[in-house]
């Protein structure tokens, strides 16, 4: 658990982060969203003390981070950034081994860990371990960047716009992979983005920041339904709100008994995709298939429309 308490950062007369307090539960994926200059990066960089707070405290699992030696603190926290910051003069394997090497792990343990991570991120060690970063695609570089951040098995991972440099298709895949890896490793992740779409897609909870202040900190559905301020509402984009709400739910939550014509949809698909599919194929309902492929019921357009509005 990470407790942020009255955190404040002042540069001269500019208040970058203004009295932010929040609690991040262990194992949660928290997304901090805001425009550039909102203080979101500064907030995250104060957690691993790349920026020293003007006042306020950060507690990780009950320990005050200000009291730990700064290098030890940072080696315990994974850190991944937008342009990945891979060391261009080192191979993929050496890059991933950075923090384990700093921690003095023995060679065998490091090699095993590097192999494990390359597999986890679907990079064949035989091909990629000895390559240099410039020999990788943007998506591969990004994966190596995250693998490097996870190398020393940190309980907490900080990610600053990790997908910002990727094109949309690769980004969607990277987001799905991150979600899957997070569930598998149950790492606590704090991710910074300017993209509300990404925040809703990834976050267990979303913290919205503007001009240094934390405006709202809540699960995505609550942010969509009850935006705390007009700024938050504007950030969500009122026009997209029903679709974003639908994107948070899966078919399994809207399935009902009955039959329907046409192609089946999967129970774990999100409702926005199903709505699009029904509208496109001019159907009022679609059969739903469970994990084993058997039809378990149907999902109707009427039900989707009902779920897309404000809860009454």
């Amino acid at each position: 658990m990470i407790a942020i308490e009255g955190l404040r950062k002042v540069y001269g007369v500019d208040v970058a982060v203004d009295e932010v307090s929040m609690i991040v539960e262990a194992g949660a994926l928290t997304v901090i969203v805001g425009a550039s200059g909102s203080g979101k990066s500064t907030l995250v960089r104060m957690i691993n003390r790349l920026v020293e707070p003007t006042s306020g405290r950060v507690w990780i699992d009950g320990a005050d981070t200000a009291e730990l030696p700064v290098h030890e603190l940072r080696r315990r926290i994974g850190y991944a950034i937008q342009s990945h910051g891979l060391f261009p003069h080192r191979t993929v394997a050496q890059n991933i081994a950075t923090v384990p090497t700093l921690l003095g792990w023995d060679r065998r343990r490091i090699d095993a860990r590097v192999g494990e991570l390359l597999h986890l991120f679907q990079l064949d060690p035989a091909i990629f371990a000895r390559r240099h970063p410039h020999e990788l695609s943007g998506g591969q570089q990004q994966r190596v960047g995250v693998a490097r951040a996870l190398a020393a098995e940190p309980k907490l991972l900080l990610m600053d716009e990790p997908f910002g440099a990727l094109d949309p298709l690769v980004r969607a895949k990277a987001q799905d992979d991150l979600k899957a890896i997070q569930r598998q490793l149950s790492t606590t992740i704090i991710l910074v983005t300017h993209d509300m779409e990404e925040a809703i897609r990834l976050g267990d909870r979303i913290a919205v920041m503007d001009r240094g202040k934390l405006l709202q900190y809540a699960p995505p559905a609550e942010i969509l339904v009850h935006p705390a301020t007009p700024f938050v509402a504007a950030l969500i984009g009122v026009g997209d709100r029903p679709f974003r709400l639908l994107s948070l739910e899966t078919v399994a939550q809207a399935v009902e008994p009955g039959e329907a014509e046409g192609a089946v949809v999967a129970a774990d698909a999100d409702l926005r995709g199903v709505l699009a599919e029904l509208l496109w194929s001019r159907r009022a309902a679609a059969p739903v298939a469970g994990g084993d492929g058997r039809v378990i019921g149907r999902v109707t357009l009427a039900r989707l429309i009902d779920r897309a509005g404000t809860p009454t």
């Binding site: 691993n48 790349l50 700064v70 290098h71 030890e72 603190l73 940072r74 080696r75 315990r76 850190y79 950034i81 937008q82 342009s83 990945h84 910051g85 891979l86 060391f87 261009p88 003069h89 950075t98 923090v99 700093l102 240099h132 410039h134 960047g145 490097r148 951040a149 900080l158």
Partner: protein, 393 residues
């Protein structure tokens, strides 16, 4: 139809090469200028000899053939390999023919007669070098291949010297009478050039790191080094005589270490001062060019500032720092010649002695090794820079 797309075959195959025109013109000028100079002794005015007079009939024919062949091949668009082979063959021919000319022009048993290469020879050498350098660039030789080519060239040069091919040339006659002095001054020259470089690396590199870390220090330090750079070398030598003389007289042990107002110490110090700016400035630029996100990632992962410097920043700045080393070494090899003026030794000894005696051959004995040394240093360090940065984008 094809005629609209491709130029007529004849022009495509025999089209003129732009640089080749220059080379061919130089070759023409070279062939039409005196090939060698004959002097009855080392200081009288010489009489210029054109190639047909300087060479025996067969060698003169060979000469004409070599020049015409090289001109034809460089004039038209030929492959880079052909041009390189031509340049090498031409160089070998030229090296052999100047030796033959020396033998031919020197009366048998005359120990005072001097034969030296004349304007024509140098023009031809220049033309050959352009052809060679151009074909090497076009072949895009890798760094290792270039160093290997240099080694082969040096070996061939050494072989030619050892074989006695050039023994009748005036420059080697000058060498023969002062061989031991030559090697002593060569050693002094290298100590001055390389030693001052080493000192500049030891001081300039940390200075550059410090300037990069402390922004406030940068402008004053760079301006000071810049100001030193603008002092003419002879003036700087002169300015150092006073302070070093004082040190020699007043600091115990300084004189025993070889510190005097004149001699090697001020020369070494001056070269060192000139070297500081390129070393420190290139270190700063190299460190500045390390991508910010890479440094940020290094910090964020918990590297100490020492670890950041040694395992990330300096390795990434290395190509630029080595470029500084290259600038300094080539510059120092040339500048060290001036050291002879204040008794610092080096190849300059022959240059200034030659100027004093109006003996051009002696000047050449000092100048030629300096040029060759600087040239070799440039090739080796360029290759090193490319090799070091080769593993990266």
């Amino acid at each position: 139809m094809a005629a609209f797309v491709a130029p007529p075959v004849g022009i495509a195959r025999l089209g003129l090469d732009k640089l080749g025109v220059v080379v061919a013109a130089l070759l023409a000028v070279g062939a039409a200028s005196p090939f060698a100079v004959f002097r009855a002794n080392r200081i009288v005015a010489g009489e210029a000899k054109f190639f047909f007079a300087a060479l025996p009939a067969l060698a003169a024919a060979l000469f004409a053939l070599a020049v015409l062949g090289a001109a034809a091949i460089s004039l038209f668009r030929t492959s880079a390999r052909t041009r390189l082979a031509t340049a090498i063959v031409f160089a070998v021919a030229l090296a052999g023919l100047i030796g033959v000319a020396a033998d031919h022009l020197t009366p048998t048993g005359d120990r005072y007669a001097r034969v030296a290469p004349a304007a024509g020879f140098w023009a031809l050498t220049f033309a050959g070098s352009i052809l060679f350098a151009d074909s090497v660039v076009r072949l895009k030789l890798g760094p290792l291949a270039r160093v290997l080519a240099l080694a082969l060239g040096a070996a061939a040069f050494a072989l030619a010297l050892w074989s006695g091919l050039w023994n009748e040339l005036s420059i080697l006659k000058e060498y023969a009478t002062r061989a031991d002095v030559f090697w002593r001054e060569a050693g002094a020259h290298l100590v001055l050039a390389v030693g001052s470089l080493a000192a500049a690396v030891v001081v300039g590199l940390p200075l550059g790191v410090l300037m990069e870390r402390r922004r406030g220090l940068r402008a004053p330090a760079l301006n000071t080094l810049n100001a030193i750079q603008t002092i003419p070398s002879i003036a700087l030598f002169g300015m150092l005589i006073g302070p070093l003389g004082w040190v020699s007289n007043h600091v115990p042990g300084a004189a025993a270490l070889g510190v005097h107002g004149i001699g090697a110490a001020p020369a070494f110090l001056a070269l060192f001062l000139y070297s500081l700016l390129p070393m420190a400035a290139n270190t700063v630029v190299g460190l500045d060019n390390v991508p910010r996100d890479v440094v940020d990632a290094a910090r964020g992962m918990g590297m100490t500032s020492r670890q950041q410097l040694f395992s990330v920043e300096l390795p990434l700045a290395l190509p630029v720092i080595l470029t500084g080393v290259r600038i300094v070494l080539v510059q120092n090899i040339g500048l060290a010649t001036i050291a002879a003026l204040i008794g610092g030794g080096g190849f300059g000894v022959f240059v200034f002695a030659g100027l004093g005696q109006t003996a051009p051959d002696l000047i050449l004995l000092g100048a030629l090794p300096t040029v060759l040394l600087a040239f070799a240093a440039a090739i080796v360090l360029d290759a090193t820079v490319e090799f070091v940065s080769g593993a990266r984008p």
